[in-house]
Amino acid sequence: TLQYDANSKLLDVPDASEDIEMNLTQINKLTQDLVGETNPNFTPQPRDESTAMIKKLFENGLKQLQQQKMAEALKSVNLAIEMAQRKRASWEAFAVQLQELQFMMKNRVDLCLVQGKFMDALQDLDFLQNTGLTTSDVFIRKTDSLMKLKQYEQARAEVERGLSLDPTNAKLRVLHIENTRRLAEYNG
Amino acid sequence: NQALKRRFQAILLRKEVFSKQW
């Protein structure tokens, strides 16, 4: 049974299954975005306001990176990403949102790696791969993270896949050899 | 866009699961 709250304009189904719950969240988010939209003639064009805010936070992070303040830089980049998640409406062009997020995530990955947060980096890299980014630099970083986490079998799978998409990549080849050595040691 | 958001939000949960596994 579908329930509608006229005040908050939100739908609800008590005891909903996971799939229905997901659908509801989507509809409600869309409703909230629409309610909050002031411009009656809105388009998929990304809102310049949001872009400016996100950019400011991100550039803050880059500045801190240049000053070698890694922890703060990571925080700023995280804020920028969060801002994008909150401010961007569901109808703003997907291609733009995706690229924006991927770009910021790539920087987050490098910041995590530099600070030894390998599991965080790995999850971000997984996200990048799942959302279609299969460039060699993703494979390089993922292999590196997996090796640091001692997951040598998975690292081998990653580096081999990276090499099959880019057989001449020198860095991948070096990682492959290094990983093979570590795997041999792991197996006695 | 919503699917992208969901996938992004799953990162934290995935981290927990993998940490436990490894």
């Binding site: 099959s164 998409l165 197996n187 006695g188 | 699961v17």
Partner: protein, 598 residues
């Protein structure tokens, strides 16, 4: 309208005989075949690495051994019934044959058959000349004018009849028209009187017994037959090709179809899916899905399930076929993570060991889990690494004090088969390269080795040892050579309800998109001879001197490739994963490129 009944009991014996033979001959043949081949397969099981089998029996709990004994007894009971039927059936056949032989009525009917060769007293393959000479001789004897005058009129008429028959016999072998008649109707005079009737004695049809007969037919055609047919039909309809219930298959398909890629595939997920199987519900309608899940986890964690212990064993035994069914569906959906986790789940259930970084060691008998994390400074996770230490140190690492137990554990650990890849290529039979649109298959040469054996690089095995036979037979059927290898021996699985030998599952993945491209190939034949070798990494000092490649047996694995080679020339990359369903550790995972050239 009016039928002749089998008053003289001439035809119904043949009818019963025919029906019995139709059933008995194939049944007996099947039974004999099973006896012969069953003996043979046991033989090969005994030849190969019996250590694992012995240890498995030794470490199995009383309940498991009882469970195994029960299922063997059930099987043999049914066989005994079948054997009884066969013996009883052949006894009736023997009686019928003897009855037919001694029945006068039937003999009389048989003598009415016209046999020209018997009448002329010659063999059936005589030539025309022999026929003519036989006739001349006999006609001299039997001609009415030549007969002796002393014979009585009775004797005379008998001899005259005989003469007529002999003449007819001669004519039917020589004269065109008569011969045609003989060939067409079995008698030179043309069509004889034939009778049609019912092969049943009259009393069954005409009198009061007839109502019984009718009731019998009604019961047979109206009740028994539809019952068996509908039962067979619903059984066939309810089971998929892979042997799992269609409801289970559709549940798995549904889970896979709705699978979100952000979800991490874990053992718990697969066990959860497994516990929704229809087979479990049918076996134990009083138990819930959550109970099944708990029982499966009990098995994996080696927990006793109290009064549900027997239920647990039955469910675990059933989960084998369910997991293979799920694997098949997962590969059809091209999902690699679920496919590999399904196989890992099967390992976990077979070995009663959870999936963890230490699974390779925890699957061994007598291991103390706490000492693994505390027992040593180095973090040892693999069998290979374990065998770099001395036996005594291994005992400390695994937490085993008793020396006999340690020896048994070490013998199991060194008998667990590991696959080492020697050669891998895409092959097209009869060609030296893979050409566009050809049908290649994947040819692997592997070494089944123990974790104890010293590593050696694959190029130390010379190319000559890795060649396939190059004859016509092997080109016609390249997979036949794998069948020459012995079947896998019994698995060390003291916690699994049944005896098993398992297999390796070969998955092929397209590197471009990271997805599975075909259903798994099951490998159940490999030689384990190498495991008996004592090429201990702790004692071998000089690899080049001590390694003798010809003493090692090369395993042959051929994986069919489900699609033709691409049209364009170039290099195409595939990932081949060969996973064992039985042990943690012995898996292969590598990338293979297909070089498509002119």
């Amino acid at each position: 309208q009016s039928y002749d009944y089998d008053e003289a009991s001439e035809t119904w014996p043949f009818f019963i005989l025919a029906v019995l033979c139709v059933v008995l001959v194939p049944l007996t043949a099947m039974q004999l075949w099973e006896l012969v081949s069953g003996g043979k397969s046991d033989q090969t099981l005994n030849d190969q690495a019996s250590i694992l089998g012995e240890m498995s029996e030794k470490y199995a709990s009383r309940e498991i051994l009882e469970f195994r004994a029960k299922s063997v007894a059930k099987k043999s009971k049914w066989l005994a019934k079948r054997n009884l039927f066969i013996i009883a059936g052949w006894t009736v056949v023997a009686y019928l044959i003897q009855y037919i032989g001694s029945s006068e009525g039937i003999q009389d009917a048989a003598t009415l058959l016209f046999d020209p060769y018997a009448l002329l007293d010659i063999s059936a393959s005589s030539t025309d000349r022999e026929v003519r000479s036989a006739y001349r001789k006999l006609s001299v004897k039997f001609h009415p004018d030549k007969l002796s005058k002393d014979l009585s009129s009775e004797q005379r008429s008998v001899l005259e009849e005989q003469y007529v028959l002999i003449t007819k016999a001669y004519k039917s072998l020589t004269d065109e028209i008569t011969r045609e008649n003989y060939l067409k109707y079995g008698h030179p005079d043309g069509p004889q009187a034939t009778s049609h009737g019912i092969a049943l004695p009259k009393f069954l049809v005409d009198s009061s017994a007839s109502t019984l007969v009718i009731l019998g037919y009604v019961a047979l055609l109206g009740i028994v037959l539809p019952y068996f047919v509908s039962r067979w039909w619903s059984r066939t309809q309810s089971v998929t090709k892979k042997g799992i219930h269609v409801k289970s298959a559709s549940y798995f398909s549904n889970r896979l179809f709705n699978f979100k890629p952000s979800q991490v595939v874990t053992l718990d997920l697969i066990v959860n899916w497994l516990s929704h199987a229809e087979e479990f519900k049918l076996m134990f309608p009083e138990l819930s899905v959550e109970t099944f899940e708990t029982l499966l986890h009990d098995q994996i964690n080696r927990k006793h399930s109290g009064n549900l212990e027997n239920a647990k064993l039955r469910i675990v035994a059933k989960s084998n076929v369910l997991l293979f069914g799920l694997l098949d569906i997962a590969t059809t959906f091209r999902n690699l993570e679920i496919s590999t986790m399904t196989i890992d789940t099967l390992k976990a259930i077979v070995q009663a060991t959870s999936i963890s970084p230490y699974s390779q060691l925890l699957q061994l008998p007598n291991v103390n889990p706490e000492s693994l994390t505390e027992g040593s400074v180095d973090d040892i996770r693999t069998l290979g690494k374990l065998f770099t230490y001395e036996d005594a140190k291994i005992g400390k690492i695994l937490g085993i004090d008793d020396s006999t137990k340690l020896q048994e554990t070490l013998s199991v650990a060194s008998s667990i088969p590991h696959l080492k890849l020697i050669r891998a290529e895409f092959k097209v039979p009869g060609e030296s390269v893979v050409t566009p649109q050809s049908t290649p298959h994947i040819s692997l040469k592997v070494l089944v080795r123990s974790a104890k054996h010293k590593f050696f690089p694959p190029n130390m095995i010379p190319d000559e040892m890795c060649l396939d036979r190059d004859d016509f037979e092997s080109m016609k059927d390249p997979f036949a050579s794998t069948l020459e290898q012995p079947r896998l021996p019994q698995t060390f699985a003291p916690y699994f309800p049944g005896k098993r030998s398992g297999c390796w599952c070969a998955l092929v993945v397209l590197q471009k998109d990271g997805k599975v491209i075909q259903t798994p190939m099951l490998i159940d034949r490999l030689s384990f001879e190498n495991l008996n070798k004592d090429f201990d990494k702790r004692t071998v000092k000089n690899l080049e001197e001590e390694f003798k490649p010809e003493e090692w047996v090369i395993g042959n694995i051929k994986i069919p490739f489900s699609q033709p080679a691409p049209e364009e020339k170039g290099d195409f990359f595939f990932r081949v994963i060969v996973k064992s369903t039985e042990y943690f550790g012995p898996d292969l995972d590598f990338t293979l490129s297909m070089a498509v050239r002119d």
